[in-house]
Symmetry: C2
Subunit: 304 residues, 2 copies
Amino acid sequence: MEKFQITILGCGSATPSPKHYTSSQVVEVRGKLFMVDCGEGTQIQLRRSRVAFARINHIFISHLHGDHCFGLLGMISSFGLLGRTAPLYIHAPQELGPMLSQEMDFYCRDLEYQVEFQGFDPSATTVIYEDRSLTITSFPLKHRVPCAGFLFTEKPTSDHLDRDAANFYGVPMWDYNRIKEGGDFVTSDGTVIPHDRLTFPSEPARSYAYCCDTAYNPSMIPLIKGSNLIYHDCTYSDQDQDRAKKHFHSTAVQAALTAQEANAGKLVLGHFSARYPDETILLDEAKPIFANTILAKENLTITI
Amino acid sequence: MEKFQITILGCGSATPSPKHYTSSQVVEVRGKLFMVDCGEGTQIQLRRSRVAFARINHIFISHLHGDHCFGLLGMISSFGLLGRTAPLYIHAPQELGPMLSQEMDFYCRDLEYQVEFQGFDPSATTVIYEDRSLTITSFPLKHRVPCAGFLFTEKPTSDHLDRDAANFYGVPMWDYNRIKEGGDFVTSDGTVIPHDRLTFPSEPARSYAYCCDTAYNPSMIPLIKGSNLIYHDCTYSDQDQDRAKKHFHSTAVQAALTAQEANAGKLVLGHFSARYPDETILLDEAKPIFANTILAKENLTITI
């Protein structure tokens, strides 16, 4: 199977902590790298990670709180210093456009590559990126300001040819792709060999849901249903559910309930408040509800 | 002697390096904290240091390159989250004013404290801060864009009273301050007891010169002459003097020559390029010219 993995660069919440960086991660799907959120210090973390800097062509910003976007200007400048020439696409809530463009006019006059801003509406469910192997959909979360989640969905790949069967029935090589994509084969004597006899099924398409900075949000469940992996807001412990409510964040229990209701493969808890010296208490609250739960941490890579 | 010390938060140059943060430091003079420059990640470093966050009331920005100011918005936001109420003064080149104010309107709408912008002209030599114990003077450096150095100068303190002598000559307590500040004493029989017989001399006033992001700049020597400590641009090794010239930065040799000509007490080299895996080569170039030289590093505190 081709690579589909997430590398956490920062998983703390806004209040600075000596333990965590603010939100950022890199999603790698079949050789392409996508950055999700870009808090202050992202470029520092990126430089420490093994992520291939120059292969990031798209940055997705979930919402316009500083802990999710204050690293953007630094990344853009440093990409310039490091000799980037490929365009960089910033996908963010529409209203960032004019602000970013002013900041770039002020701070980044000498860039030798294009920064292309592609605004989206965080209150709608929209496909905001698509290529031949992947779709990225933004969907509304429930936060103090308009805030999007991102669903990364692989497109199904064609089935694998069973070479022995293909040889046995005399399938010519030029016909392989048609068979792999679902076709049957008709032999010279007119016998129909069904697709299933000539192929092994492809791996099921995988998906990843990034649901950071949200109160408990059951309305997104139908969309993220069956995701292999969910990264979910887990700013607070269940003991602090009043705070969670007030600040439109989730508790560990709410994150776990979401993963359970979405029938997810795995749950990663993140966006930790600085108030917990040991985040194991969050894990301990989530696991009884959704067993396959882990804590995010800086430089952790999770393979789907 | 009262505290006069520098804590380095970041001493790398603009290109991100896994080893260094970008420029920032905190100068503590007699209980007051001043931040100088505020590159990306400053608030992270500050949180890791033992510096008392809330006691910083003034931030000085030398110039408007991102590696010296991209941490400003994050600091301002986080101070808000941490419940700050005291005003924060930002001293920076005048043109930052309108930009910062727009950024704050966009990102920091709910601050519960005042941010006061105090612009200065980096091409002039100007006293930009003064209180009863300290003067901070900005002076022009030689960089690609207008860029200031900062000279922190203690005001002389009054001499210390020699209690035994004062008692012996019958100086009344209400007259102590006048004597400490330079007065003589006249006894009841008319004898003049000179100031020097009644006091021990105060410690000499100390000074610190921050000269970051500059090409070799002999024109500043008269101003920084006799500084106890100089922090100087040392982006490059002498082998890379062409690069230094091109980018308006200094080599280790140029930093050492500056300290020597200024007859400084001590030199700290900083603003290191990411190209030297071991900065000892910079130290080795500087020391033969100016022996009392050290390398800056993150979290280093230097007492003057």
